[in-house]
Amino acid sequence: MSSSEVGKEGVRGERPGREAQIGKGLRGRGRRRGGRGEKAMVPEAEFTSYYGKPILNPPVWKSLDIAGYFFLGGLAGAGSVLAAGAQLTGRTAAARALKISSLAAIGGSTAALVHDLGRPERFYNMLRVMKPTSPMSVGSWLLAAYGPAAGAAAALEVTGLLPRLGRAATAGAAVLGPAVAAYTAVLAADTAVPAWHEAHRELPFVFVGSAAAAAAGMALVAAPVRENAPMRTAAVFGAGLELAAAAVLERRAGLAAEPYRRGRAGAYMRAGEVLSAAGTAGCVLLGGRSRAAAALSGAALLASSACTRFGVFHAGVQSAEDPKYTVVPQRERLAARGPGPTREP
């Protein structure tokens, strides 16, 4: 044993969450030391890393801005669909409230996005190009189309001017709204961040489900009881879709799903589930009778949607910060492929 071992031990000791060892290949390694008291959801991760340092550079996005952006974008998008539905079926108070909330939410989400830029004064560079390979570019253009439609729908509703144009704007926002709610999932998934990328099939469904629940929640808060029957059904639909998609995600994404159950991300995800269950149950059981119960359930649904977005955001950050989530799945992929070009004899 050379003295350099001390250095290695010291480094390992400094990072208690790490089992990574320097310079020991995967093959022929013993079992990982136990005693961490955590029940492994997935096979034991055996891997090597460079002093436990992350392989990826974690997102530099601020959680409040970007998770907030996801939440508000979903609220706005699904809200526009509900507004159109409410208007078509003669639920005028709900329609008006949802149009206003969609405008406010899309305004807030755009502000959050611009605020997060390192150089917000250069936002206009976003509209220099149109790149389908960049979900952020697609999103910018989507917002450029949806924002004015949602704005016109709200403004014409409030002022009562140009009713025909108002209906067209409402319809336009309702068609673009789902895209606004869904594309943010692609925005997150189109990265090397394991918890996001591996979830790219399920994440859009988690996001639109969560968006529907949030918008239904907003309607329950803002609209009178006599108009909220479809909103309660929409809440059940949204919460159910979100829950089902999240369950599939956790099963399919393998090791990359682990961060969704751990640490801050796990806490947010669990809070989201509890609030979602409470909100849905509350509005189904009492929302048709009591205005207060409807509003309370609606608030729980809104909070649940926000928690889910924060949970997804932090799961991504956690998975980027631990090299395990990068190395182990890639190793497994290589092993499944058999001896490849990087494994020359």
């Binding site: 789902p178 999932a185 994440l203 479809p230």
Partner: protein, 275 residues
């Protein structure tokens, strides 16, 4: 054009790190004692465009044995007493053939040069930070207090006037070699064969294969251990490879939202109607 970094001859002098900082006027980013062997830069980032990794292992290299005359100095990385060895490797942006950073950049500030390299145009970057989590190698990063993304330019300004990049120029052992990629690949293959012949069975190339997940790297490496030992991903894939599937799933999800909510209203009918 690209880099071939032969880590088996790297002596860890960090001349490349210094030359890069000097030439590109990259700001100082803190001198820390990290306890990670002789590594005080830790990894690639906005202000570290070349990073020399130091790995201490109790593993002999090739046919080396303690106390034996190392006549074959060619065997590269030094084998010290007790079968302990140091691996050193100068890491850099890989200038991927399919570069995720470039694909996701919403402003077009990241672009591919006439040399096939990937460069950020600093006056157009708006600091959205999307390229940072998109890079499967953890290379590009946002500079604090500046907001923009920075990384190795493969000395775009130097190669434009026929000079080799500062790091390659400064490297005293030719661990960093610059040139046309196919020439470098040929040379690299020969070097691997040579090392295998010397009994350095662990020698392997990393990032040289144009059929890998990123379409091959413009900067590839000869490594003496698994990539993750050096902090490199074992099987990186450009994230946009799955983008068509992502858009498809998002499209279906958006349609499900629209259709689902439409069904809800259809089922409930007009206010005061059914149910």
């Amino acid at each position: 054009m690209g880099f071939f970094t032969d880590t088996s001859v790297c002596i860890g002098c960090k001349a490349c790190e210094v030359a890069c900082k000097e030439w590109n006027a990259v700001p100082e980013d803190g001198l820390e004692f990290t306890g990670m062997s002789y590594d005080n830069t830790q990894g690639l980032g906005a202000d570290t465009w070349r990073h020399v990794a130091f790995i201490e292992q109790s593993k002999p290299i090739g046919q080396n044995e303690t106390g034996v005359d190392h006549g074959a100095a060619d065997q590269g990385a030094a084998a010290g007493a007790g079968g302990m060895r140091w691996l050193m490797a100068s890491d850099v942006c890989k200038h991927c053939t399919h570069a995720a950073c470039l694909d996701v950049c919403p402003t077009g500030s990241l672009f591919r040069t006439e040399f096939g390299t990937v460069v950020v145009q600093e006056d157009i970057c708006n600091g959205c930070g999307y390229c940072v989590p998109a890079c499967p190698y953890g290379v590009i990063d946002q500079r604090k207090g500046d907001g923009r993304a920075w990384k190795c330019t493969l000395c775009y300004d130097r190669i434009g006037v026929g000079q080799e990049p500062a790091c390659a120029k400064a490297c005293p052992t030719d661990s960093i070699q610059f040139g046309p990629l196919d020439e470098l690949r040929e040379r690299a293959a020969m070097r691997v064969d040579q090392l295998h012949g010397l009994g350095v069975e662990d020698a392997r190339l990393y990032g040289q294969d144009p059929d890998d997940g990123v379409g091959g790297d413009g900067a590839f490496f000869l490594l003496l251990d698994e990539p993750e030992v050096y902090g490199l991903p074992p099987d990186p894939v450009v994230t946009t490879r799955d983008l068509p599937s992502m858009w498809r799933h998002a499209g279906v999800a958006a349609a499900a939202l629209l259709g689902g909510l439409a069904t809800v209203f259809a089922a409930h009918g007009r206010e005061g109607g059914a149910r």
